[in-house]
Structures are given as structure tokens and as C-alpha cells.
């Protein structure tokens, strides 16, 4: 079953106010069924008075149920179609069907698909717990032996049934809201589990996808008493074989500022700063280890460690690749090295907190 969220351009804000006023909704939802995606798309023409045009498709939502069954089959039609863009975003509908997720009206971005894409894009850049996976990456990953797919999920916060009505965008706090949720971990194209919060960020650290984020550390008695704002981060993954067993080393370099503190501390003291940097490094290291362990438990190499081994030991890989996910990856030894650097302490050196 496929659902099409189609833009009704006359009702999108910004377009001219001509032709019936702005009473209508910016999007309309059509559902059709078929044995294949193409069939469903063709059958949709029974209800839609326009030709579906896929060049501007910017979001593909996959229901959790289908994700568990496997998503491998659906991308051939997408890749084959000259209109479809491989740069379109893809998300998983968490705890709901894709149709339910698509039928929530959103207040700021009139087109819900845009709301999802932009939310994903900015939360990825600012917090780093979600990835904006593109169709291209997924298809690429399908053809790689040593890498598994990870896709962000969205869920509906609040009452999803009220989301489809216009009243949803008329209140200051909409009854149904779309929000980015956990990362979906796939194995062989099938959804095998979820990762969230620090675990999710750990994945992004290793994937070198963290742009900005903040890391809270404990200091003295104050739990989470200091916040480090990462402005730049870089990760490198290397692999070694020792007695036929892989050793993965991850080196992460971060650079950032102190952005908040609840403790009284002399930031002009270089020793203190070095202490702080060490704490931050430990914190990031902890997140990375957590993420890798979780993935090892699910036997899904979402980090692409296998690909690193493949590149470093192409000969040995030929043997390893069949059992990589089930045998080598869960057992792989992990070395994490984090190099955090505090560039500035913000506009203040000494906090007013004494």
C-alpha cells in the first residue's frame, strides 16, 4: 500500500491568494494499493486528477511494519525511474504507519514533508542524534558487504487522529506534532532495533556526521555541571587484523567552546582546561563505546567497520565477508581515542556563579 502526499500549490502560503482563497489544505493524501510500487503509483491515477510527478519527491516514509519485513525491494523502482531523485530523504514511521505519519498537518512548514526534512536537517546539525539518510546512501549500502543502513525515524507526538484536521494548525500547541525519534538499525534490509540519545549520537560520532552538538560533563559534585559545545568534529576509523581478528580504532577530534557552566571555575588556568578536555574525551568515548556495543549486540555493522577492513585487507576480506556481521563484527576489539580541544570559553572567562 502506498500513500501519496500531494501538494496543492494554490493553498501553499506564499503562492498568490487567487482562486478560492486559502481555506483549503496545502496537501492532500491519496492511498492506493498494488503488488508493486509502480502498480500502486499507476493505480493512484484513478483518484488523482494530475500526473504524479516524482522529480520533486523529497521524502519517502516507510512504515515500521514494512521496515521489519524488509525494505530492500522497494528501491529498485525508485532507482530505475528517471524522475525520482536519489537525494530524497528517507525516514521510518515509528510506532505508526507511514500513512498516519503523513496525515499530520504542521503549522510552520505548511507542507508536512518539508517540516520533516527541515527538522531532520537542523537537528542533525545542531544536536547530532539523527541522520538525514538519502535514498542514494541506502542503495549504496545495499551493495556493500561491510556496512549496514541506519535511518532516522519520526513519530507523532500527541493525538495522531486530530493531526489530519485543519484545527491542528490553528492552535498554538498542535494536538499532533511530528518529532524526530530513534535511529532505526537495519540488518540485511530488515529493521532489527532502535538507538536513541547518547547511543544515537555515538553512531554519528563514528560515522563522522556530527557537526555541532553539546556534551555535558560532571565536575566535582555537580552532575552535568558543564556544557561543551562542539563546533567541529572529525572521526577516522582504522582497522587492523591480529591473529585474524579485527581491531578497530576510532580516532575522534573535536573542537569547541565552553557554552554553559554551573560551577565556579578558573578558565584561565591551562591545567584546568586540560582537565576539562580529558573529562570531555571520556564522555565522548563512553558514548562511542555504548553505540558500538549496542550495534555489536544487534550484529549489525552500521559503522561500516567491515568496509574499512575490506579496504585495508582486501585479500583477507574475501574470506571474512560472509561471516562478518555474525562472527567478526560482534567480537571486534574497539579502541577509541578522542582528542577534544577547547578553543574558547565563550564571551566570559569567569562565571558570576561563585
Amino acid at each position: 500500500m502506498s500513500t501519496f502526499q500531494i501538494v496543492n500549490p494554490g493553498n501553499v502560503a506564499g503562492a498568490t491568494q487567487r482562486g478560492g482563497g486559502s481555506a483549503g489544505l496545502p496537501v492532500a493524501l491519496y492511498t492506493s494499493t498494488g503488488d508493486t510500487l509502480v502498480e500502486a503509483s499507476r493505480k493512484a491515477s484513478k483518484q488523482i486528477s494530475r500526473i504524479p510527478y516524482y522529480s520533486h519527491t523529497n521524502l519517502v516514509v516507510i512504515g515500521e511494519e514494512l521496515a521489519k519485513e524488509g525494505i530492500q525491494q522497494i528501491f529498485d523502482a525508485v532507482e530505475r525511474n528517471p524522475q525520482f531523485r536519489p537525494a530524497a530523504n528517507i525516514i521510518i514511521a515509528r510506532k505508526q504507519t507511514a500513512k498516519q505519519l503523513s496525515s499530520v498537518l504542521t503549522p510552520i512548514d505548511k507542507i508536512p514533508a518539508n517540516q520533516i526534512i527541515k527538522t531532520l536537517q537542523f537537528t542533525k546539525g545542531l544536536l547530532g542524534e539523527n541522520v538525514d539518510t538519502r535514498i542514494r546512501e541506502i542503495i549504496e549500502n545495499f551493495s556493500l558487504d561491510g556496512k549496514e543502513v541506519v535511518i532516522s525515524s519520526f513519530r507523532i507526538a500527541g493525538d495522531w487522529q486530530k493531526g489530519a484536521e485543519q484545527d491542528n494548525v490553528r492552535t498554538i500547541e498542535p494536538s499532533a506534532r511530528l518529532r524526530a525519534a530513534e535511529l532505526a538499525v537495519f540488518k540485511n534490509g530488515k529493521l532489527v532495533g532502535w538507538m536513541k540519545n547518547e547511543e544515537a549520537r555515538g553512531v554519528l560520532w563514528v560515522l563522522n556526521k556530527v557537526k555541532q552538538t553539546n556534551v555535558n560533563i560532571d565536575w566535582g559534585e555537580s552532575k552535568e555541571g558543564l556544557s561543551y559545545k562542539v563546533m567541529r568534529a572529525q572521526a577516522k576509523v582504522k582497522a587492523k587484523l591480529k591473529d585474524g581478528n579485527p581491531i578497530i580504532s576510532v580516532v575522534i577530534k573535536t573542537e569547541g567552546d565552553i557554552s554553559e557552566t554551573f560551577i565556579s571555575m578558573d578558565f584561565t588556568d591551562p591545567k584546568q582546561i586540560i582537565e576539562l578536555e580529558k573529562k570531555i574525551q571520556q564522555e565522548i568515548k563512553k558514548e562511542v563505546r555504548k553505540a558500538v556495543h549496542a550495534a555489536q549486540k544487534k550484529k549489525s555493522d552500521i559503522f561500516g567497520f567491515g568496509e574499512v577492513v575490506h579496504r585495508t585487507y582486501p585479500e583477507e576480506w574475501k574470506e571474512m565477508k560472509k561471516t562478518w556481521h555474525n562472527k567478526y563484527f560482534p567480537e571486534a576489539e574497539l579502541h577509541v581515542k578522542v582528542d577534544s580541544f577547547i578553543r574558547r570559553t565563550g564571551l566570559r572567562t569567569r562565571s558570576y556563579i561563585q
Binding site: 500549490p9 494554490g10 503562492a15 487567487r18 522529480s55
Partner: protein, 528 residues
């Protein structure tokens, strides 16, 4: 039409023989009265032919007559002339011999003796005063050309911010002089030729001997001589009769209203053709890139001149393809428009009942109508037209749902771009090609536009102007001249004149013209 009558002409050598002054045979008669009757007869006793009879000599024994066309002579000088002749010839020492008169008529520059009637009539019609004296077998033609001309004003078509303010007038002599004043050199040669069997229009070919290519000068001469037409009323007549290729939208002859532009072109070895009665001077040979060069480019510094030239090329391109790109995008290539924009355009086009091509055609034609109306209307009415036009194009058409507002933007950009093209002649050709490209875009999308532009380029490369490839110095590539094309090098870098146009003396300046800060005194060993 003309080619057909030209064919006839070969059988009958004098198609207009009866009308041309050189078709009037014979020499003047001794009898003054007969001569005057002949003038009256030939001119049909025209009201503006003034014949003033008077008596000459000490004893008033020589009847004479002055004959001129009123309005074409300076009547003050005619008065003086009359006075002078009368006074001079009443002196005791005077004689009424023609030699004496010819030498004594000193108030004017030229006085010559004429015998043939056709000479007399062409002199008379060009504004000379003819003096007939009874009993003489020759008349005297005195040049007192004058009359009213439009004063020298700022050119109306090629304005500049920096540069001379004067533009050509309708007076041939004034125009030639304006250029000569700029190049005060005896090697500026001016050749005279009369074109138009009936109109007998004066035409001047001007070039710098030694810089201009003699072969091209000869070619210009022969092409001008080949012209056999009843009238030449504007330089456009000549342009159409001497251009290399008629069936092209691109002009292969440059025309200008600015004397400084002519002077600059002469210095590049080009040849200027002046025509009596029009401020537009033709310049040959012409290359494509000339239409994107403004005189100001050379007066302003090179960086800004280069930037402006790029802008002009861009503007030409926009005026060429903007509507067709809109058609192609909205009809075939919606995927190339950013999503939010495609939604906005789709919303506007929702209410438009026509396909994009019809929509664009509608607007473009409306605009062309408005422009054409605006060009020829009296100024007072013109304003009304522009108001109506602004309302019709800008608002009402959109509100009525005829066209989308995106289309209005496209048409406006096209219009402004075509106005920003420095040469009107090239802007017109873009105007025509634009419609062809619109059809191609409606049929084949971007592919069609590309085909159209490629065909246009091939056509441009095939054109020649007086044997010089139109796209020179780009195709064929002449590296020495590339500094004055899309880019303009600093003036000291423009060392050579266009190579293809001239064959001799291509170097126009010494090496090392680049300005430098003064050297330090110690280094030079100079005590100063």
C-alpha cells in the same frame, strides 16, 4: 523589386537617365535670356528657384543673372556677392572678362567656371549660386552653401556618461569636419561619391591612408559604385545594398551617431561612410563583438570596462533566451526548478488557461506592440500608452488570469535586458531570434534551445563583413586582438590593431606604456 529593375537596367543603360542631371545635355548659350529660359524650363519654373537679373559693367551694358535655390544658400552671402560683383565691376579698371570676375569674387571659397548644363544643374541643386552673363559661353558657379540645419546636439541613440557630448547632424560637411577635428592628420582621406540617380545624394568615404586596408577600401568603393537606385535617403539604404548577407538578423554594418566612435574605428583601420542628410554614419568592416563595445569602455578604466562587457553579453543572452527558458522549464523540466519555487509557479499557473508557450507568446507580443506604439507616438500620447501598458501587462493581465505573474517577471526581464543591450541593431536581432527560440523551447525544451543557440552560433561564424569573419577575433582566434573582446585589457595592453581588418602597420603603441611610479633618484643616478 530593385534586383528586378536592375536586370532591366542592363538592357536600357539609362533607366533614370531622363531624371538624372547628367541626362541634360548641351552647353550654355551666349544669350542670357535663352539660358534663363532653359533653367526655368528644366526646373518647371519652381517657386524656390530664384533668378535675379541685373546689369553689370561701368555702363551697365552687361545683363547678367544670379540663379540659386532659396533655402539652400546663405542668403546673406548672396547679398554680399551681388554687391561685390556690382561694385567691383563698376570700377573704372574693371573688365567684364570671366577671368576677372572669377578672380575678383573673393567673398566665397570656391568659384569655378561651368559650361555643361548638367554641371550647372547639379551645382545649382547642391546649393551653389550660378552667375550667367550675357554673351559668355561659360557660367560661374559660386559655392555659398548654407541654409538651416539642426544644431549639433547630444546623440540620442548612443549616450555616454563620460565622453564627448556631440553627435552627428544631418549636414554632411559638419559631420566630416567633426571627425577630422578629432584626427588632425593629412592621411585621413575623404573620397566623394554621389549616389541616387534622382536624389544625387552626397556620400563620403573616410579612412586613414596607411592604416586602412587598401583592398577593403577598394571593395567599399566598388560596392558603392555598384549601387544604382533612384534615391538614397538614409545610410540604411546604403547599408542594405552593400552588406555581405541580406538574409540574416545580425547587422554586418555598424552605424553610429558619435564622432568619437567613428574616429576610434578609423584608427582601427575601418572605413566610415557618411551620407548627406542623416546623422548615422556607417562603419565597415564590422565584427560581432563591436556591438557590445561602447565608446565609454575605452574612456573608463579597464576593470570596469571588462565587467560591463561581461554584463552586456549576459544581457544579450538573457534577452535572447529568457522567455524560452521559462517555457522549457515549465513545460518540460519542472525538476530543475527548486521545489518551493515550482510550487509557487504551479499555483500561479493553476488559473492560467493557456500552455506556457501561448502564455509567453501573448505577453511577448503584447510587449512588442507596446514598444512599437511607444516609439512612434508623440511624446504627450506616449505617456498614456506607458501607463496603459504598465497596467495591462503588470496587473490586469495577471488578475484576469490571462498570464501568471512569473511570466510578467520573465517578460520584464527580457524587455529590460534588451534595452540594456548597447546597440539597438543587435537588440533587434535578438528580438527576432527570441521568438524562434520560444517555438523550439515549446517543442523540444532545453534541447531545442540548445539546438537553436548552436545553429545561431554556426550562422554567426559563417557571416562575413567585407571579407572579415564576423566572429573575429574569436573565430578565427587571433590572440593579439583578444584583449579587446569580452574583456578589455588595460590600454597599454592593447598593442595591436585588429589584424584581419588591416594588413600593414598593426602596432599602435610603443612597448612599456604601462605607467610606473617614479624611480628613486639614487637608483637612476640623477641628481634631481
Amino acid at each position: 523589386m530593385w534586383t528586378r529593375s536592375k536586370g532591366k537596367k542592363e538592357k536600357d543603360t539609362h533607366a533614370y537617365g531622363g531624371l538624372a542631371p547628367n541626362g541634360i545635355y548641351g552647353t550654355i548659350d551666349q544669350d542670357l535670356h535663352t539660358n534663363i529660359e532653359k533653367v526655368r524650363d528644366i526646373t518647371g519654373n519652381s517657386a524656390d528657384i530664384i533668378i535675379r537679373r541685373f546689369l553689370l559693367g561701368k555702363d551697365d551694358n552687361f545683363p547678367a543673372a544670379l540663379c540659386f535655390v532659396s533655402g539652400m544658400v546663405d542668403e546673406h552671402i548672396v547679398q554680399q556677392l551681388l554687391l561685390e560683383i556690382s561694385v567691383q565691376l563698376s570700377l573704372p579698371s574693371s573688365s567684364c572678362g570671366l577671368d576677372y570676375i572669377e578672380q575678383k569674387i573673393a567673398t566665397t571659397n570656391t568659384a569655378r567656371r561651368i559650361q555643361q548644363w548638367h554641371d550647372i544643374f547639379s551645382s545649382l541643386m547642391s546649393g551653389e549660386v550660378i552667375l550667367f552673363i550675357d554673351g559668355m559661353l561659360e557660367a560661374i558657379g559660386v559655392s555659398v552653401k548654407g541654409g538651416e540645419y539642426r544644431a549639433i546636439t547630444e546623440p540620442s541613440t548612443q549616450l555616454s556618461i563620460r565622453g564627448p557630448r556631440e553627435g552627428f547632424t544631418e549636414s554632411l560637411a559638419t559631420n566630416v569636419a567633426m571627425v577630422r577635428r578629432r584626427i588632425q592628420n593629412p592621411h585621413v582621406w575623404v573620397e566623394a561619391i554621389t549616389l541616387g540617380e534622382v536624389t544625387q545624394t552626397n556620400v563620403r568615404i573616410m579612412y586613414i591612408k596607411g592604416i586602412a586596408n587598401d583592398k577593403i577600401v577598394e571593395e567599399v568603393r566598388s560596392r558603392l559604385r555598384r549601387i544604382c537606385i533612384d534615391g538614397v535617403l538614409e545610410s540604411g539604404y546604403i547599408e542594405q545594398l552593400i552588406e555581405d548577407e541580406s538574409f540574416t538578423t545580425f547587422p554586418t554594418v555598424y552605424h553610429t551617431e558619435r564622432p568619437d566612435s567613428v574616429a576610434a574605428n578609423l584608427l582601427e583601420g575601418r572605413i566610415a561612410i557618411f551620407v548627406e542628410g542623416t546623422p548615422f554614419v556607417l562603419i565597415v568592416p564590422t565584427v560581432f563583438i563591436q556591438f557590445f563595445q561602447a565608446v565609454e569602455d575605452y574612456y573608463a578604466r579597464f576593470d570596469i570596462a571588462t565587467a560591463l562587457r561581461f554584463l552586456r553579453m549576459l544581457v544579450f543572452f538573457i534577452s535572447l533566451v529568457a522567455p524560452s527558458v521559462y517555457i522549457a522549464l515549465t513545460t518540460f523540466h519542472q525538476e530543475m526548478i527548486p521545489t518551493s519555487l515550482v510550487i509557487a509557479i504551479a499555483a500561479q499557473r493553476e488559473a492560467v488557461p493557456f500552455p506556457a508557450f501561448i502564455e509567453a507568446l501573448l505577453m511577448e507580443v503584447t510587449f512588442e506592440i507596446l514598444r512599437e506604439a511607444g516609439v512612434r507616438l508623440p511624446r504627450a500620447v506616449g505617456q498614456a500608452v506607458s501607463i496603459v501598458g504598465a497596467l495591462v501587462i503588470g496587473q490586469a493581465a495577471v488578475e484576469a488570469g490571462f498570464v501568471s505573474s512569473a511570466m510578467v517577471i520573465v517578460v520584464s526581464i527580457t524587455a529590460i535586458a534588451s534595452f540594456a543591450t548597447p546597440s539597438f541593431a543587435i537588440a533587434i536581432s535578438a528580438r527576432l531570434i527570441r521568438f524562434a527560440l520560444m517555438v523550439l523551447a515549446a517543442l523540444f525544451g532545453f534541447y531545442g534551445i540548445l539546438i537553436g543557440v548552436i545553429l545561431m552560433t554556426i550562422h554567426l561564424c559563417s557571416l562575413r563583413s567585407f571579407g572579415v569573419p564576423y566572429m573575429a577575433p574569436l573565430a578565427p582566434l587571433i590572440l593579439e586582438n583578444i584583449g579587446d573582446t569580452f574583456i578589455r585589457f588595460p590600454l597599454w595592453g592593447l598593442k595591436e590593431r585588429p589584424h584581419l581588418i588591416m594588413n600593414t602597420d598593426t602596432v599602435r603603441q610603443k612597448d612599456g606604456q604601462r605607467p610606473k611610479p617614479p624611480q628613486r633618484a639614487e637608483k637612476e643616478g640623477d641628481s634631481n
